[in-house]
Symmetry: C2
Subunit: 139 residues, 2 copies
Amino acid sequence: MSRRVRCPIASTLDIVGDRWSLLIVRDILRGHHRFSDLRETVEGIPSSILSDRLKVLEREGIVARRPYSDRPPRSAYTLTGKGHALGVVVGALSSWGERYGEHDLSIVDNACGHGVSLVYHCETCNRAAPRNRVRLVES
Amino acid sequence: MSRRVRCPIASTLDIVGDRWSLLIVRDILRGHHRFSDLRETVEGIPSSILSDRLKVLEREGIVARRPYSDRPPRSAYTLTGKGHALGVVVGALSSWGERYGEHDLSIVDNACGHGVSLVYHCETCNRAAPRNRVRLVES
DNA sequence: AGGGGTAAGTTCAATTTCTGGACTGACCCC
DNA sequence: GGGGTCAGTCCAGAAATTGAACTTACCCCT
């Protein structure tokens, strides 16, 4: 997979822009850390692909492999900070899917239990930026 | 491409979870509406793939094809509301790419010019929901 | 009227990637 | 010693992708 580095969107898609990687991230976020666990929860993923993607995600610093047994060799997969940050991408995909399809999963705020949406926010001004006011610009 | 409908994330990825679709959305968002335009701006996309993806995105109600000339046949591609909503996904990919790589594009609020980030927001309580407080739950 | 250029695709063979299933090795428990 | 689990690997067939060439239908210029 060759890299298209100029654009942060393209370069991100070069890493996780396939049918499976973000589902693996989703399930590690949901607390599934073992290979067999992920093979079951990531809908229909072949174990060869799971093995391959975990290696790529580890190489990219998105997941960390932590052996929890030497003999036999067993690993648990967790998200690094970089990997955890992909939660927003997963959240955005989920929001869109919830809005435009019928499903049985949603993202909620644990504190109030209500569904949440994703909005743009300007840290400097400390206010929301409406969707139609944001632009993609060269810096 | 078979469909994994249970989960909104999986079903969204079934539609736009490939190397090109979201780049096409990105560029239509940036104001590129014609086939030849997209072929140039979507980094290195083969025209056969562009043609194919535009058909899929049209079938999914994400882009609308509007002929602007009959003879010779010429079309412009625009985003539907559903397609425009994918801007948040593109924004999330961009934020992540900006944070974890070096690039020359960023998302800014047109009003103040500052870079913006994506945050979860509970409409009901009208307050932000911190990342670590949101969960993916069955509804 | 002929030549060159552009826009929007289509076609195709070669390559790459994905898929599903079988298989392996190293254990553990009974 | 038999059966089960876990974490993968291996492989052949199927499917998707790639790059390049080609097509159709104009327009402009001279």
